[in-house]
Symmetry: C2
Amino acid sequence: MLEKLKEIVGSTHVLTGEDAQPYLVDWRGRYKGAALAVVRPGSTQEVADVVKCCVTNGVPIVTVGGNTGLCGGATPDQSGNAVVLATSRLTQVREIDTDNDTMTVEAGCVLQNLQELAQKSNRLFPLSLAAEGSCTIGGNLATNAGGTQVLRYGNTRELALGLEVVTAEGEIWDGLRGLRKDNTGYDLRDLFIGSEGTLGIITAATLKLYPLPVAQTTAMLALDSLEDAVSFLSRARAGFGPALTGFEVMAGPVLQAVVRLFDQQRIPFDGPSAQSPWFALLELSDSESAEHAQERFEEVLGQAIEDGLVQDAAIAQNSTQSKAFWHLRESIPLAEAELGKSIKHDVSIPISRIAEFVQITNAAIQKTFPGVENIVFGHLGDGNLHYNVAPAQGQTQEALLSLQSEVYQLVHDSVADFKGSISAEHGIGQLKRDELPRYKSAIELSLMRRIKQALDPKDLLNPGKVLTVA
Amino acid sequence: MLEKLKEIVGSTHVLTGEDAQPYLVDWRGRYKGAALAVVRPGSTQEVADVVKCCVTNGVPIVTVGGNTGLCGGATPDQSGNAVVLATSRLTQVREIDTDNDTMTVEAGCVLQNLQELAQKSNRLFPLSLAAEGSCTIGGNLATNAGGTQVLRYGNTRELALGLEVVTAEGEIWDGLRGLRKDNTGYDLRDLFIGSEGTLGIITAATLKLYPLPVAQTTAMLALDSLEDAVSFLSRARAGFGPALTGFEVMAGPVLQAVVRLFDQQRIPFDGPSAQSPWFALLELSDSESAEHAQERFEEVLGQAIEDGLVQDAAIAQNSTQSKAFWHLRESIPLAEAELGKSIKHDVSIPISRIAEFVQITNAAIQKTFPGVENIVFGHLGDGNLHYNVAPAQGQTQEALLSLQSEVYQLVHDSVADFKGSISAEHGIGQLKRDELPRYKSAIELSLMRRIKQALDPKDLLNPGKVLTVA
């Protein structure tokens, strides 16, 4: 079979032994697998031929993009039975159509390259997330990645107009449409998006582009409570309209830890505002000018301060200051790493219930695991919290991590009580596969299994990810 | 079986004979069917019980909402074997959550009632279309309705966060989530949306709300060509940002026919601009003020006129004028009716190729059917054209309609050449079912059939719509 694969993709693109190793471990080193070989097809036709070859031999296929996932979705199991299909050579940009505001690109394109490509055409491709320097658009689509611009532009799902997919039989579905309206049959596109390589292999996509904003300006807010942040979000959505592209919240102690740990960081408030229990970071993307964005901030924030909803506000006066505010927010994961490995949750909650969720869950955590640090921050505008738990003072990270499954269960049970999601933007992969049946109805799991059975009857596409077929 | 159905929904809600007639004909009178009975369940549980009863008896179920569809999707066939399930009693508003910007409503709610409900809560539910006074949200979801606000807010698909669906086995799937981010398995929601009642019966949905804009202002533009309209659309998207909520185009002769036929209508230009070959209608939804919207219009339109891209522009000075401009656009279908029944197409084309599509298709139409009137207008911002063909001078409408299938094929073949869609916003139903295999690949049809088979193996849900299962 390896000979046949070498015929299809060329012998230098079938990797085994040491060369295959980087593809068999996830980037955080939490999952290690084995494989017959890693193959790197150079075209959609080669992907199709590889799949046909694997099907003939009953060999499972695990597709990997940039290998930046957080749930082990692209790492094969340890049986060594599978072929890993790497999309790294599928990097062609097939078309940029500025009048249609679309680009058609192959699955292996790195996200940051696509952002830059769009910018060169005076357009914005708004998907933006921490791994953008190495994640691929194929992986973004397969996991329906979220990121920092969801409030305005949606998840990856909302940015895709069309797909090209290789099916479980090795056929090529050409669904590369650049249309905003198309009601001709079932929505196959959205079925493949977010299915984590278990229903088909995405080889290319037609993506939406937007005009570049003229200015992006941020403001930091000091708030008395998360309730106030939620109330102010409604006002901000009305007052700024769709110019509001970011609304992040951070618990006070989290931001205070950042400035304690990193000398060059500073909360932009003096006096008691710097000790606020909550902070928010807002971003406006303006189609007029930076001055207009600042005026809008002044008007809406001024009124909110007058009404006692916001305690203090610092509006960035230039792009350096705007970046400094974002940098403060982005330093939270680095501060967390300094505090010792934490137990992380990627959850979403209806926005109206977030404050109550945090209050009740924090209390339950403290009752069951006294003294641990609750690290709470996230994309309030999307209802998406990174709800993390760090070691108590004097507790080793090993001692905390030994409690991981209990902590997961407590937090996820609370999420379920509030009708939230246990995976807002990272997917299921292998990490949460066995948790899913606890939170999904039997009917929903049955519908999912029937679709898996219909599109991949032999269970050869990324088996054991998202759900078990048995 | 009718006795059993009466037990479930109450005998007054099982209609036969004359009482059933209104449900057996589509509103335009183009499709006439027959049915065992029309049942009107009063709750999701009753829907589930009706489906179970039908499944037990091997009886097909055709679901109908407001019966305003344009493709016969909600009309049963003439066999008389089916039960028609009317959602008219599923009108409960289960929740409005303004902090989460969502509302959860049942399938039978009339769209306009939902718009008004949102407005009372100081929110916008942006879905808006001609039939809004009688169409239901269940039908909007089942057909993924488009309408006039798609440029900014997307189709119905983009406005739904969660669904409740009764499956082909009469089970209830509770997918009523009010979350902006949720990556926990396959996207069942989008599979049911747009499936025209063939995969499941949507009984309720959680929908997105938006802030009410402070002002909505329109402008009319006179343009030399459709190419110029496309070029200006790019500028308008950049200059107005997401405040641009409408960008309609109308061929000059079409608008000139409107003012010729309706005395009270007037093109807001004097001199040669009134005779322009193309017009555009723009709408801005502003989060500041009407004055701000007018200023933005003046700046962006002023520059475009200076650059020769736009020939003339009239900015509405108040809401009465804004409405008058919209009224002009909305009078086109009325003018068409005066000109004699036309052959209508609901197509979409990549925006960059629309001008070429119209030029080539108009020429082909004139060559094959000399003298007929090309009526071209539509939502340019979405790439969606209503491309219609009216009788030639002296030609009876009967003579024209006898050519309908040839005209359809010519236009749809041209759409396919331009990688467009033969049904942008109206769906497939029975009208375009047999056309679909001409324009969809065998692979795509096979994927659709496999999904239908997986979710409705007995083909009892709206059989013969969208696709044939054989």
